[in-house]
């Protein structure tokens, strides 16, 4: 199994091949267009993380000692970034999720999307992922 760190480095590598913002964004948009990231039954109001503008849904399940995250958004660029976050954080131990940082977002040129004032729900989403990790960590102990 790849560690969070390894996955992040892999993503940084992938993004380093893009020459400009357009290629980066096109890639994220394509990620966002891929199949639904969450089962419809979990796309409920109680799973919504309210950003000001785009809606984000997150669902978490514990499989053995790892957390599987699924998520979605009604905005495609947000969805693309979610796809990246899911790739990094899903199927990892709660402890590893809690210890991980999100600096790689900066390194792939998407820093502006994680500014706390950027009302797209992503900051709240990461907070929510970590909250699930805390909850499941407690359960595992």
């Amino acid at each position: 199994m790849q560690s969070i760190q390894e996955i992040q480095e892999e993503i940084i590598d992938e993004f380093s091949m893009f020459e400009d913002w357009e290629e980066r964004y096109q890639y994220m948009i394509d990620l966002g267009k891929e199949l639904p990231l969450i089962e419809t039954q979990y796309k409920t109001d109680s799973n919504i993380i309210k950003g000001c503008q785009s809606k984000v849904w997150v669902h978490a399940e514990l499989e053995d000692d790892k957390i599987a995250f699924t998520a979605d958004s009604d905005a495609i660029i947000t969805k693309g970034i979610i796809a990246i976050l899911i790739r990094v954080f899903s199927n990892q131990h709660p402890k590893a999720i809690l210890e991980a940082d999100t600096n790689f977002i900066d390194k792939i040129g998407l820093k502006e999307h994680l500014s706390p004032t950027r009302a797209n729900g992503l900051v709240s989403m990461i907070k929510q992922l970590k909250m699930y990790a805390i909850a499941y960590q407690t359960q595992l102990n």
């Binding site: 948009i29 503008q53 809606k55 905005a75 495609i76 660029i77 009302a119």
Partner: protein
């Protein structure tokens, strides 16, 4: 005809780049940019005569007081108020509205009715809901139609002898619709109701005459009219302002204080507790002087030209829908691309150096009406150009290509 080259030189911010592209600023309905003439006034204040006003015997305090009160007179003349003391400085439109709402809480009783429009900004809904909760008054809403216009025939039927207040924006911030406030005011007065008009969106485009309108309260923010943020005004008819109790306690608003009783100062100081935004007030006056030096007729004509041009060019894009299609609207175009979230369009436009607003524009009831999460809103000011609109149209086409 406006001298665009000269006007654009007045706004230093228009020469900057965003994301490596020349800035195209189309978020004027959120806040307008500041001309050098106003920036100079702000710098001059802090460089030369920064002092607290009204109380000082020293020269600086006197100078600051004179300038602050001169600005009040500029505002008075601009809106054609009868008296300077009918102009109350506030921190902005929201503050002004809350001041009136708070005042009316002492005047309303259970069963009284307040009418608001379906086109309102949140700041114009929440205070009245709070007021109704406090007093037992009932909130009624003037509905709107598919064009984003108020259904005035319904408004006429909502009025009755219990109606105490009517609150409508002069122009909708989300859609740009110009509301028929002359009719709204006249009808309300037939039932003895007071009318408050939110002029935040109208002030950059229209020079209202509060006496001719016979409006009871008119409010706006300086930052929509080339002034600084954090300052605005409440115009109220003298009789109404005398009737309303003070809003906040503090210095400046009192005549005499003992522990037994305080007597309040006269207008306008009764509503201006504490040290005000002195520099902001002075700059507000300077901003109005600047706008008037260009002329509101010339501004309105030119912005209308931009609106027509932008509407025509944007509608050439397949799958683009404009929300707010009233014949009476200002230079605001709220739109969506079919099947694409406005946030995504706004993100791509930002990458291209184009500043627009996306989202529900603090007007969720309007978005619910159209069943959309929000819109992309481009709002033009007199310093914008058709060439910039071409950049926007190309940007929207690019966003459409990338996102569909």
């Amino acid at each position: 005809m406006l001298d665009l080259d000269r006007i654009r030189k007045d706004f230093p911010i228009l020469t900057r780049e965003v994301n490596g592209k020349p800035l195209v600023y189309f978020d004027n309905a959120a806040t307008s940019q500041t001309p050098q003439q106003v920036i100079d006034v702000i710098v001059d204040y802090y460089s030369n005569y920064n002092a607290n006003i009204h109380r000082g015997v020293h020269a600086l305090s006197q100078e600051a007081t004179d300038k602050y009160e001169e600005a009040r007179q500029i505002i008075q003349k601009h809106f054609n108020a009868k008296h300077a003391h009918e102009i109350i400085y506030t921190s902005g439109t929201t503050h002004s509205i809350n001041l009136v709402a708070n005042g009316f809480s002492a005047l309303l009783k259970k069963g009284d009715e307040i009418i608001v429009s379906a086109l309102e900004h949140h700041s114009n809904i929440v205070p009245w809901q709070m007021l109704c909760e406090r007093t037992g008054a009932v909130l009624k809403v003037i509905p709107m139609n598919q064009n984003g216009e108020l259904e005035i025939s319904v408004y006429d039927t909502l009025l009755n002898n219990n109606t105490k207040l009517v609150f409508v924006n002069h122009i909708s911030n989300a859609l740009g619709t110009i509301n028929p406030i002359e009719h709204i005011i006249e009808k309300a007065h037939q039932f003895g109701a007071a009318v408050l008009i939110d002029g935040a969106q109208a002030s950059p485009h229209i020079k209202p005459d509060v006496q001719a309108l016979d409006v009871d309260f008119y409010v706006t923010s300086a930052h929509k009219i080339c002034g600084p943020t954090g300052v605005g005004m409440l115009y109220g008819k003298e009789a109404w302002l005398k009737k309303l109790p003070p809003y906040q306690g503090g210095g400046e608003m009192i005549a005499e204080v003992t522990f037994e009783k305080t007597t309040y100062a006269g207008l306008p100081h009764k509503f201006e507790a504490g040290t005000p935004n002195i520099c902001g007030g002075i700059a507000f006056g300077a901003a109005l002087d600047y706008m008037n030096s260009i002329g509101f007729n010339a501004i309105a004509n030119y912005e209308n030209e931009l609106l027509e041009y932008g509407t025509e060019k944007l509608l050439e894009i397949e799958g683009l829908k404009i929300y707010g299609t009233s014949k009476h609207k200002t230079s605001v175009i709220s739109f969506n691309l079919d099947g694409i979230h406005p946030y995504d369009v706004g993100t791509i436009l930002d990458k291209l150096g184009i500043a627009v607003r996306t989202g529900h524009h603090c007007a969720q009831p309007i978005m619910n009406y159209f069943n959309i999460p929000g819109t992309v809103r481009a709002s033009f000011a007199f310093y914008n150009t058709k060439a910039e609109i071409d950049v926007l149209v190309a940007g929207v086409k690019k966003a459409k290509m990338m996102l569909s």
